[in-house]
């Protein structure tokens, strides 16, 4: 296991946003964190990335403790719902990230190709459509060298064909040895791309494992992820 999360918890006043979250992630796999809106997916991802303080719990990287201040050395988190650097052009934002992580021009061009960002390179970020904005965020994530990439709603804003394309990009990225954790609320999208699932509802894990594991766990031998999720929550 590359990442071990043990008893992570977060409260906002009386409300428990996350409670007793324990799971593990293997190297090079794509883990889907599945749940409806308000399940605690974003809170969990921000806690993993160390940009939201947790009340309790431990995270270990390759068996060693990984305190919040050092999470950015192993994990990069691509948040949802942010429009960074609105007044900058897309190529300038990409260049900034590439320069910070000392990426070569070939690597940048490869990222642009794989995310289909080429037509938007000269545009300002604020003028991008939702789909291109998601591509930009994905490209920023792909340009980082971190062993684990955590993404919040990576398919939001894409149509079916685009979702399939981006799912292929993510699969290719995982094939290079990178570990991905994706928070997804569209179960069909999650089933398409993820190797394993962590089902989250009301801040608690309701089930975890591959689709087969979850089918056995729920007794739904032919059940889809949607059926399983409804059975467990």
């Amino acid at each position: 296991m590359v990442l071990n999360v043990d008893s992570l918890a977060k409260r906002y006043g009386e409300q428990a946003a996350l409670a007793d979250i324990t799971f593990a992630v293997r190297a090079s796999e794509i883990v889907g964190i599945i749940g409806p809106n308000g399940a605690g997916k974003t809170t969990l991802l921000e806690g993993l990335a160390g940009i939201l303080p947790m009340d309790s719990g431990d995270i270990r990287w390759c068996g060693k403790p990984l305190p919040p201040s050092r999470r950015r050395e192993a994990i990069f988190y691509v948040p949802d719902g942010v429009r960074p650097y609105r007044d900058q052009s897309v190529d300038r934002v990409l260049t900034f990230f590439a320069d910070v992580y000392r990426r070569s021009v070939d690597e940048i061009v490869h990222t642009i190709e794989s995310t289909g960002l080429a037509p938007a390179l000269g545009k300002r970020v604020q003028s991008l459509s939702k789909g291109y904005h998601r591509r930009l965020m994905l490209a920023l994530g792909l340009l980082t060298p971190h062993a684990m990439l955590v993404m919040d709603e990576p398919f939001d804003g894409f149509d079916l064909r685009q979702t399939r394309d981006i799912a292929d990009v993510l699969r290719r990225e995982a094939a290079t040895g990178r570990t991905l954790a994706l928070a997804i609320h569209q179960l069909a999208d999650a089933e398409r791309v993820c190797d394993r699932f962590i089902l989250l509802a009301d801040g608690r894990i309701r089930g975890a494992g591959t689709l087969n594991d979850l089918q056995v766990q729920t007794g739904l031998a032919e059940g889809s992820l949607e059926d399983i999720f409804l059975a467990l929550t």
Partner: protein, 463 residues
């Protein structure tokens, strides 16, 4: 295949971060709007200053004594840069807040704090961007210097640099406060309110309680605008510079503490307390440093060199007891003409107001009112004068030393000038705003800087 080794935070280059900060400053509207507003402000102040200076110069053409009183520092630079002070107080916070506030509002901060830079490096880069913004915002002020010189006006380099240095410190101080405000506020609007509370609050303090005795005097000294006063008088005060740098470093440190969203609030409060204590200690130490350099060409803050040399030899403490209320104009004269100059040359001097910090009303029945008592060693003398011409011989008498001989040829000549006034109006209300609009347009044009644009496109299209 990728390894699962961790990325080393110390490895990241600084240049991309600085370039990105500069582009963020230049690509926003706030800086350009401020520049366009500063142009007429500086222009009108400069025009007014030149007019008044020209009128005084016309009179001075008939009198060399009058000509000696004409200094470009007082007549032109300080009043013109008063407009710059106004702009930095009221407009610059919006430019400086943008450096961090926009990233907080757009959510980009969550990306920024994951980049391989320490929080202090991020805040340092943002402070560098504030410095760049201040420099750009002062282009109208710098152009004023060029116009003044081209018009035949005299500029003393030490005076001019010192004055701009004071404005730079004030600008950075406002910028550091803006960064701190942006780091603790969720929105740029809230950050603006917090910063303006500091800057406008200082402004209000300045004209409501300044010059009042006692606690009010102490409160007035906390005003940010006090930073500028000493520089405007032509003094480079080591203690003031250190104190100002300590305060702006303190605000930058607080911004560093509050920047990372992943740190619990309790821990941030504890770290803030440490920052505040450290700043207070440095500020306290800086206030004890009385060293200052008179950079004025007319040496208005110093006695003549020959007197300075003799006074520096006085080894015993001098105690001055003043029977004047602080709001009495004679006290202001005495302070400016004698006491301030003596304090710079006699570190062991003590000034006491008789009866604490009384007002004119409480002095109504004081028969000694108006007297100033000078005690040196075991000898004492009294004078009602506020002029160094009378006080210095009195001091030499107390110290039992001979007055120095007068050094000839060291008089300040004065720099009267009647300059043409139409060109500044054309420049500040026409030429410079047009140049600024052109630069704004240039910064907004689509980016075509990277080879990857064409490479990426061609590959994409060929697929």
């Amino acid at each position: 295949m990728r390894s699962h080794e961790m990325f080393r935070v110390q490895d990241a280059p600084l240049r991309p971060l600085l370039v990105k900060q500069l582009w963020e400053i230049v690509s926003g509207r706030a800086l350009w709007t401020m520049l366009l507003l500063v142009c007429p402000l500086i222009g009108y102040s400069f025009f007014q200053a030149m007019s008044l200076y020209g009128e005084a110069s016309a009179t001075a053409q008939q009198s060399q004594v009058l000509a000696r009183t004409l200094s470009p520092l007082d007549g032109v630079l300080v009043p013109t840069l008063g407009a710059s002070y106004l702009a930095v107080t009221l407009l610059f916070p919006f430019v400086a807040i943008r450096v961090l506030g926009q990233e907080k509002e757009s959510g980009a901060l969550r990306l920024l704090v994951q980049l391989p830079y320490r929080s202090a490096t991020l805040v340092g880069a943002k402070l560098a961007a504030v410095l760049a913004a201040w420099t750009l915002a002062n282009i109208p002020a710098f152009s004023m210097l060029v116009i003044w010189s081209m018009s035949g006006g005299h500029l003393s380099a030490p005076e001019t640099w010192n004055l701009f240095f004071g404005h730079l410190l004030y600008g950075l101080l406002v910028g550091a406060i803006a960064l701190f405000s942006a780091s603790v506020s969720e929105s740029a609007a809230t950050a603006a309110i917090v910063t303006l509370a500091f800057t406008i609050g200082s402004w209000v303090l300045d004209f409501t309680v300044a010059g009042r005795p006692g606690l009010l005097e102490w409160i007035a000294a906390l005003s940010l605008t006090q930073v500028l006063r000493t520089f405007e008088q032509g003094l480079l005060s080591v203690g003031l510079v250190l104190g100002t740098v300590a305060v702006l470093s303190g605000f930058a440190a607080l911004a560093t503490v509050w920047l990372p969203p992943g740190v619990p609030t309790r821990l941030k409060v504890m770290r803030s307390a440490v920052c505040i204590c450290a700043t207070a200690i440095v500020l306290g130490l800086a206030s004890q440093i009385a060293v200052s350099i008179d950079v004025t060409e007319d040496r208005r803050n110093s006695f003549p060199v020959s007197d300075q040399r003799v006074l520096a030899k006085l080894g015993e403490p001098l105690v001055v007891t003043v029977h004047l209320a602080p709001e009495d104009p004679r006290y202001a004269d005495l302070q400016r003409n004698v006491l301030a100059k003596l304090e710079r040359v006699l570190p062991r001097m003590t000034v006491r107001l008789a009866g604490g910090n009384p007002s004119i009303v409480t002095y109504a029945d004081d028969d000694f009112y108006g007297e100033v008592e000078y005690s040196y060693g075991s000898r004492t003398d009294i004078s009602r004068s506020t002029s160094p011409r009378e006080i210095l011989p009195l001091l030499y008498g107390l110290a039992n030393i001979s007055p120095p001989a007068l050094a000839p040829g060291s008089d300040y000549p004065g720099y009267p000038l009647i300059a043409r006034r139409w060109f500044p109006l054309l420049w500040f209300f026409g030429g410079l705003p047009l140049l600024i609009i052109f630069a704004w347009w240039w910064s907004c044009r689509p980016s075509r800087s990277l080879a990857l644009v064409s490479q990426g496109r061609s590959r994409h299209e060929s697929r």
